[in-house]
Amino acid sequence: MSISVDEVAKVAGLARLNLEPEKAEQFAVQFNDILDYMRKLNELDTSGVEPLYSPVTHETVFRDDNVRMEYSREELLGNAPETDGSYFIVPRIVG
């Protein structure tokens, strides 16, 4: 199982990244190296092993959902590339 240049381009699209054709080729070579190495895990019999997704052992407790004013609108818009003073502005979505 190896990953083709086309598949790399498809993955880039899913991740919302542009990929120049020569970069796609370079990434495909590197991905195959890395994925080959990762397939080392297939040596292990993991049938019946419970996956460990987080090392947290404590119960997650919900806090009360209290409404608080933490930040002003101005602060939260402060880093936006484009705003109208009230909202984030993005390029047109629907024609």
Partner: protein, 498 residues
């Protein structure tokens, strides 16, 4: 006043609290040091000289109080932060072009705690972009030099933090560790680095790379300093649901409880000590440290961590998967870089992300997207999570036969700049000894144990413990440190120091 910067954090905070020193003078000693050394080290991305000085003058105006050491344990102490921790009103870049102009409106929880403890923030330290890397060469701004040898890497991703502390530009720094990013640079630069147990320290305001692995920890000159700093930053935070609600031991006070290592069982996994790929410099110094431990009363026992050789593969699947999800937030809408020329929304996303992220970040996002994609999820991500369980079980079983586990932090001393940048897999493999700890969520201390005989570069020993036993790691590290020769000042900057 430049000699002030050669004190440990514990010494300087005592002298400050006693009113013996002015905060401004201590801050200035660090700034002078930065002026002299930064042109060759480049540890900082952002300096906050003016803020630090004005804070210092304000503190001097009020002066210390009789109970300052107890209530403000870091009163007047200049520290620096890895640039992945948000600072209110101070640029936070994550070493990325994406966030080159990002100024957060909130402090990370650890930063709030440092400020409440009286610390003075000197600035933000260089790192591999979004903490992805092992050499700090992935910074979008500039590489950082190793103070011991200027053409060697400081390690990574917390390379700026390790270099700044080694060069005495601040009394301590905070780093973050996802797969070894505190311990490896600490080892390469000859400083102490502690990766706490997962959940010991709040991650609120730590810009996420791999949320189930990331932890913030101290990088310091001494074990006592690490204990002081951990005491300040550890503890429950309602803003981070993964942060454990457990009492925080008085780490600095507990150091006195152990003066030797009698009764201590040290696990020696063959997987860490096999001669394969272990540089003679590293093997020699680490073994000497183990001999010393035995002289101090410890018993070394063999233990097995049989899944160690699978850790790097499992780690890069889990970490890339989490990264691809975490970094989806950088879309050019609410903060971060935006490509202004895009004609529609999707093109804006794609152009902004492609121009804002560096190559390694894009590689991991794509790798993560791939292993999580339909048809591959079970083969990669689930398999890696199952392997992670096996790695955790290895540790749990090992700790039935020993109190701590020791091994080298890295197979080699600091490597040369540019040596591993062309081959990502070779770079990943440098983390072979540090990575399994993050997968298991356990704490680890990186302790400098001397300079390599051939390389003259620092060697780090790793002391690993059961979850939430940072107290034990610090005690063991403290005993060993007190019997080991102190490292000299880093050779690479010896000529340039003010």
């Amino acid at each position: 006043m430049s000699e002030l910067c050669f004190h440990t954090m514990a010494e300087i905070r005592r002298r400050l609290a006693d009113g013996e020193l002015r905060v401004e003078d201590v801050v200035r000693s660090c700034l002078d040091r930065m002026d002299a050394l930064e042109p060759s080290i480049h540890a900082f991305i952002t300096r906050s000289d003016e803020q630090a000085l004005s804070q210092a003058r304000e503190m001097d105006r009020v002066g210390p109080k009789p109970d300052t050491l107890a209530t403000k344990p870091l009163w007047g102490v200049p520290l620096a932060l890895k640039d992945v921790l948000t600072t209110r009103g101070m640029r936070t870049t994550c070493g990325s072009r994406m966030l080159a102009d990002f100024t957060p409106c909130f402090d990370a929880e650890v930063v709030t705690r440092l400020r409440e403890a009286g610390a003075v923030i000197l600035g933000k330290l260089n790192m591999d972009e979004f903490a992805m890397g092992s050499s700090t060469e992935n910074s979008a701004f500039h590489p950082t030099a190793n103070p011991w040898k200027l053409d060697a890497v400081p390690g990574g991703s917390s390379g700026g933090s390790a270099a700044a502390v080694a060069a005495r530009m601040g009394f301590a720094a905070l780093g973050t560790d996802t797969g070894g990013s505190i311990r490896q640079p600490a080892a390469f630069c000859g400083v102490v680095g502690l990766k706490p147990s997962y959940g010991r320290v709040s991650r609120y305001g730590l810009v996420a790379y791999a949320s189930s692995l990331d932890q913030i920890g101290p990088m310091t000159l001494t074990v006592e300093d690490a204990a002081l700093l951990l005491r300040v930053i550890a503890g429950h935070d309602p803003k981070d649901s993964t942060c454990a609600d457990r009492p925080v031991p008085d780490y600095p006070a507990l150091l006195a409880d152990r003066t030797d290592l009698s009764g201590l069982r040290i696990g020696m996994p063959e997987e860490f000590w096999g001669e394969d790929g272990l540089e003679p410099d590293v093997a020699q110094r680490c073994k000497q440290a183990m001999t010393l431990a035995e002289e101090l009363g410890a018993t070394c026992v063999p233990v097995a961590l049989p899944h160690t050789s699978y850790a790097v593969a499992a780690y890069y699947i889990v970490a890339s998967a989490e990264a691809s999800s975490n970094l989806a937030r950088f879309d050019g809408v609410r903060y971060g870089y935006r490509d202004k020329d895009a004609r529609d929304l999707i093109e804006m996303y794609r152009n902004s992300r492609s121009k804002g992220f560096g190559e390694e970040v894009q590689r991991r996002i794509m790798l993560g997207t791939y292993v999580l994609s339909s048809g591959y999820y079970d083969a990669y991500y689930k398999k890696a999570a199952q392997t992670r369980r096996l790695i955790q079980q290895d540790f749990l079983e090992a700790f039935e036969h020993c109190d701590v586990i020791c091994g080298p932090v890295t197979p080699t001393t600091a490597f040369g700049m540019g040596e591993k940048t062309a081959d990502p897999l070779q770079m990943y493999l440098t983390d072979i000894f540090t990575i399994s700890l993050n997968l298991a969520g356990l704490p680890g201390l990186s302790l400098p144990v001397g300079l390599g005989e051939r390389s003259g570069l620092p060697v780090g020993l790793q002391i690993l413990g059961p979850a939430f036993r940072e107290d034990l790691l610090l005690q063991v590290g403290h005993v060993l440190e007190s019997r080991l020769p102190r490292l000299p000042l880093p050779a690479g900057i010896a000529q340039q120091a003010p």
